[in-house]
Symmetry: C2
Subunit: 143 residues, 2 copies
């Protein structure tokens, strides 16, 4: 479904959001440990999320990654789009380049439904919601 990079990216963002809610910055080491991801690879992904303005970073001692409170309303699709692009939402299930309403693959209509369901979910699920699931113990970020 999502690439590994995207999976790590979402998990990392959720962890960072959680810390940010408590006015803490999250360092790379901690993040990788807490979401159980490869450290150096995670660094690359976080770099990209910073470039795309999903998260912020601070260098130097006491630095780390964080999310400004007015950005906690970002939704899953923001992260997915930043890392995987939007092929998951717009791409043809059978890989046709020009699949459309006018020139559909045989799966087009069946898939349109599922994709629109997925799209709706990704665009309406905020990371804030998700972190509160973690807070209340009904959602985990590792293992």
């Amino acid at each position: 479904m999502f690439s590994k990079a995207c999976e790590y990216g979402i998990r990392a963002t959720l962890f960072i959001a959680q810390e940010s809610k408590n006015q803490r910055r999250a360092g790379l080491k901690t993040i990788a440990r807490e979401i159980n991801s490869p450290e150096a690879f995670t660094a690359k992904i976080l770099q990209k999320l910073v470039q795309k303005n999903i998260i912020k970073s601070a260098k130097g001692p006491q630095g780390g990654f964080f999310i400004e409170s007015n950005n906690l309303k970002i939704v899953l699709s923001d992260i997915v789009r930043a890392i995987d692009g939007d092929s998951i939402i717009t791409g043809c299930a059978l890989g046709l380049e020009k699949c459309s309403e006018e020139h559909p693959c045989p799966l087009h209509h069946d898939f349109a439904e599922i994709r629109s369901h997925l799209k709706h979910m990704l665009e309406n699920t905020t990371i804030l919601e998700l972190t509160s699931k973690i807070d209340s113990g009904i959602g985990f970020l590792k293992i």
Copy 2:
């Protein structure tokens, strides 16, 4: 969503099914041309589908790939499972190894819905249905 191999596999199977409905065998060259896929790679995929008893093959002159009429009721999930395994249906959206009802990732419940929708579709869409879309000109296999 699906791997390239799976996309080609579904498209190839649909083309073969179409030909089989007309009592024709489909050769590799024709298949690759008609679904616009790389020939040698497609051969590997067809090989796997033969091994998994999704399609049949015949060697020698007049040989090719075909589907026996009692097998035209196979569904999309048969093909997907044969090529991609069932990670798309059972795997965790965030890549957690032990994501479950008891130990869910924060996306688990939102995704369960989408996955069950997808599963239902894949398990209830026969290739016969899909080929009839192609026959009636409301579904294409290339470009």
